[in-house]
Amino acid sequence: MIKGTDLFVKALKEEGVDILFGYPGGQAIDLFDSLYDQDDIEVILPRHEQALIHAADGYARSTGKVGVCLVTSGPGATNLVTGIATANYDSVPLVCFTGQVPLGLMGNDAFQEVDIVGITRSICKYAVTVRKREDLGRIIKEAFYIARTGRPGPVVIDLPKDIQQAMGSAEYPKEVAIRSYKPNESVHIGQIKKAAGILKKAKKPLFLVGGGVNISGANEQMTKLAEQTGVPVITTIMGKGAVPSSHSLYMGNIGIHGSYAANHAVSECDVLFSIGTRFNDRITGKISEFAPHATIIHIDIDSASISKNIVVDVPIVADAKLAIEALLEHTTKLSVEPWVKQVTQWKEQYPINMERYEGLTPEKVIRYINEHFENPIVTTDVGQNQLWTTQYLEIESNRQLLTSGGLGTMGYGFPAAVGAKLGNPERDVIAISGDGGMQMNIQELATAVALELPLTLVVFNNGYLGNVRQWQEMFFNKRYSSTCLTYRKSCERDCMNKDKCCPKYTPDFVKLAESYDAYGIRVMKEEDIEKAFAYAKEHKNAPTLIEFIIEREANVSPMVPGGKPLYDMIMDC
């Protein structure tokens, strides 16, 4: 007979958990006490629960393992909500333990009581309250299984304090048997053959690859499939890295900020072979004109993702890796050279760049990273920084680019980098964010300093919430409503004067970094990019924040305006 909290620790060890992201509190104190006596699981203390779960998410995405969170009840639990939804959208395996008031107090509006299972029901894969001590082991076992199998996702386990304290069996089950959950572990060969047959007859075939290929780790197979068939590949943001971005058959990202070649290829292809994508509205543009000439084949592990947004002709419910391996056996080289030549020509003719801006640009910073870092992990925040990174970053494989693609969560990038570095201590980890998103979880400088993590934090500072500002510039007659971050109450209402002298920016990121005992450096000129990264590389014991002061009104180009078809692009925003 052991305490519930001791079974909790035993369960984590049996699941191979080596890092736990935790923030203590009244209803989690017993769990933390049981974690105190052991060294197998390192307990990381971020400075805010939202950052905590993003860190667990970054750890999970970068390692492929399940990320584990432990927080207290009430506000500890509700602070996880954004991170749970973030992980759910991007299919990240997490198990989140939340403390809860004792069973007898539940429903009484006790101090720090919330119905976290009810709150998270629609944004996680599974949520459950443990109501009997004898169920504890089984529920934890099932949670890890559910989180990492099928389409991965976050699971919430709510642990009432009396369950934590209760004595009970020390047994942690070895096997899982959930009658209502049987993830698909095979692939329908008939459908694969049918898809291969359609592909074989195509004159303008195209692979559209999403995050599912990266999650299933099918990168080598995907590259091989592209080479074996000679069919060009485009990706979603989440699918980037599925084939090396330098590959001659890779034609860029599709979507509202996708490349000319990718968007036009999808609009002209006759067979669209899509793998592991949800056909989110950010990649389809106007639905009725999406891939109008194509027979659409769709492989996805989640049957609900098939024919949800785009009605497909050949559905295949399967893990991407299994399906691609099967396809490798049923496909051969296609004679589609004119088509490949055409798409390659678009790619060469219309590259994405920021040459229209002088001096220091995000493109130059990201290209510097491409040239000077070996296999780094790069996290992004959300907004222009994310779009520029996904446009210019060159990556070789999966688990290298971590970004909140589905939910689009500002404040994700920096804490995710903390988690990624903890999971990959030997690799360079770079967090790219804007001045807006950086401040959403700035307190993690304390975590990174405490853990002596040599992260490189790239902040593109334009003094605006730049992505929204770009939309306001393009579609709202430059009415910069609530997007200026240099604003003071004493500013003129419509400060459209080009020569305006804006108030001093707050915070001073360099001083702020230094106040946390991190390193900070500001870059105003293109020629100082190298110096700044060299400065960051010198410091092995703490993060370095590099603030790049960029053109205030630099835009992300190209762009497909809302409601327009993908081929209707504004090339120079």
Partner: protein, 168 residues
């Protein structure tokens, strides 16, 4: 669009929160739910739901998939076009009745094979166990004859696969 009435029979884990999960799926994804009944089965760890909804083909396919991927759902059965038995309980209470009204009510009850479950001098309680459509007709009928005097409580349909016609 092909909007039409559909029926789903759902086997789910008999656990706290499962009803909220299923109903939340409908509200959260803006699916139109007409009726939902739930009760324990012969196996007390399993509940069975009968769900009536009106939607187009594409949405219906998506609803079935979304239900299927819910961890707590054991099995989704489409009852729309297969032989089933389906009944709904309906109570109609008619108030402020005169003697003549009561006679009329008893005549209706006889004609439609309904049942009077309770009555007093001024009120009659009629029980109808019919299909949802027939119950709609009964409500309309009573409402027409006794406007603003009826009180309606209905239970939602329960359905089960037919035996004899399914075996043919």
């Amino acid at each position: 669009m092909n909007m039409k009435k559909r029926w789903i029979s759902l086997y789910v884990e008999n656990q706290i929160g499962v009803l909220a999960k299923i109903s939340g799926l409908f509200s959260g994804k803006s699916y139109n739910l007409d009726s939902l009944t739930v009760g324990e089965t012969e196996d007390t760890s399993v509940s069975r739901m009968t769900i009536g909804l009106t939607c187009d083909d594409i949405t219906f396919e998506q609803i079935k998939k979304q239900l299927n991927r819910s961890i707590e759902v054991i099995k989704v059965m489409d009852f729309t076009d297969i032989p089933i038995h389906k009944k709904e309980i309906l109570f109609i209470k008619i108030n402020s009745c005169s003697d003549k009204d009561r006679e009329e009510i008893f005549r209706i009850v006889n004609a439609f094979e309904l049942k009077v479950t309770d009555y007093s001098k001024k009120s009659v309680l009629v029980e109808c166990v019919q299909t949802e459509m027939k119950n709609n007709d009964m409500i309309a009928l009573f409402n027409r004859i006794f406007p603003n005097r009826i009180e309606v409580v209905r239970g939602g349909s329960v359905a089960v696969e037919a035996i004899s016609s399914a075996e043919r």
